[in-house]
């Protein structure tokens, strides 16, 4: 009779390894078959402002719901109030599909006294 001389530990490691390798293989096959080279789709949301030493901090979160990676994402946030208004730009180097990146923009004036909005989002394909 033919048999391999592995012990229980080795068979367990093999079973887990087989599962991992097959799962990775299956995932990549599925991705390779379903991924199309569509454009990135970046959604930006702003969080509640907080007061910091350098001004008022506004959290910015960018999420890519599209199928392609966005590179050099420039998010312009505008604070409009009574005066001329302020603008701050956040640059995210890479925003792969399905991922999220967070950062902050700062303003000298208090955002509570005006209105905050995302004035523009620009990015390029890698």
């Amino acid at each position: 009779m033919t048999r391999l001389d592995k012990n229980g530990l080795e068979w367990s490691v093999f079973a887990i390894a087989l599962l991992l390798v097959l799962a990775t293989f299956g995932y990549l096959v599925r991705e390779a078959l379903t991924t199309d080279s569509g454009p990135p789709d970046v959604a930006v949301s702003l969080g509640p402002p907080t007061r910091g030493a350098g001004g008022h901090l506004v959290p910015v979160t960018a999420e890519n719901h599209g199928t392609g990676t966005a590179e050099e994402v420039r998010i312009t946030v505008r604070l409009e109030g009574r005066g001329p208004g302020e603008e701050a730009v956040l640059v995210v180097p890479y925003l792969p599909r399905g991922s999220r990146r967070s950062g902050w923009v700062t303003f000298r004036s208090d955002p509570a006294a005006g209105s905050l909005r995302v004035a523009g989002v620009a990015f390029q394909a890698p």
Partner: protein
């Protein structure tokens, strides 16, 4: 894993069929895993500490990651078949060990990337998978080499009775080339060298690589050279060095393609990068190949 610490299998027949076999001791297995982990880290740490590899998760499209996975598996099969395991090991044992090493590579690679803070909740699933796959597959080759090479007695692995023909030598040459050049393939430096060097200097680099192979294989009494390369005439030596360099160039080109270094690059850039990486790959295909057979 079936490796250098195999107990003398009772009733082992040529071809590896065991009439009766005892289970290996758990302590032996643990020692082997320890060597595998050491080898995995030894050969792949530079890669896991490279920013280009972290970005590779979203630069390398899934079909290329798939090719990377399959290519690594073929290399593991080749290494285990021709050097890592006892010459009488059956193919099923070679496959089982290769799967095991790949699994250990994936876990080890993922844990290390996690420890380095390179896997965060902000990343998308395919970015995480890309980082882990690209980082972990070199770990898997390291695990395989470490398990077999870093411990035990070469006699137990059957190196004394092994005969590896031309095909096996080519496979081990590719393994050596990938082990040495794989850590450099994803870096920006190869792109810079490949695109900036003038043609004449690239030709000199190619000639240098060829001479390096010739020196290691035939003129430096390198360990294992006499046995695996053998005495050769002038023409034979030149042929050996040329085949080694061809293997190195092939391994370089495939590695660079996998990392997307040939995308939107003119032919001159493709050749330049391949020659630039070819120096390291030649070192792996000659010195690395001989060391892998010890």
């Amino acid at each position: 894993m079936v490796g250098p610490h195999d107990p003398p299998a009772c009733g082992s027949l040529p071809g590896g069929f065991l009439l009766h076999a005892e289970h290996r001791k758990v302590s032996d297995s643990l020692e082997e895993y320890g060597r595998g982990i050491a080898g995995g880290l030894l050969f792949s740490l530079p890669l896991l500490y490279t920013a280009e590899v972290w970005d590779a998760g979203f630069f390398i499209p899934p079909h290329r990651q798939l090719a990377y996975l399959l290519g690594t598996f073929v290399l593991l099969l080749g290494y285990n078949r021709y050097s890592g395991m006892h010459p009488h090991a059956r193919w099923i044992e070679v496959v089982i060990d290769s799967v095991e090493e790949m699994g250990i590579g994936l876990v080890l690679g993922a844990l290390l990337l996690l420890a380095l803070g390179r896997l965060t909740p902000e990343l998308g699933l395919d970015e995480v998978m890309g980082r882990v796959v690209v980082g972990a597959l070199t770990v898997a080759i390291g695990v395989s080499v470490g398990t077999a090479q870093l411990g035990g007695d070469p006699q137990q692995r059957g190196t004394e009775e092994r005969e590896v023909g031309f095909g096996g030598q080519v496979v081990l040459g590719v393994c050596g080339a990938v082990l040495v050049a794989g850590n450099m393939a994803p870096t920006e430096e190869i792109v810079l060298i490949g695109l900036e060097l003038p043609p004449l200097q690239l030709a000199a680099l190619a000639l240098f690589s060829l001479l390096l192979g010739l020196l290691i294989l035939f003129f430096s009494d390198f360990r294992g050279a006499r046995r695996w390369v053998g005495p050769a005439t002038g023409i034979g030596r030149l042929r050996g060095a040329i085949v080694t360099y061809a293997v190195a160039l092939l391994a370089s080109a495939v590695s660079l393609w996998l990392f997307g270094r040939f995308d939107h690059v003119p032919l001159a850039g493709v050749v330049g990068q391949t020659v630039a990486l070819g120096v390291a790959a030649t070192l792996g295909a000659s010195a690395g190949r001989l060391l892998l057979q010890q």
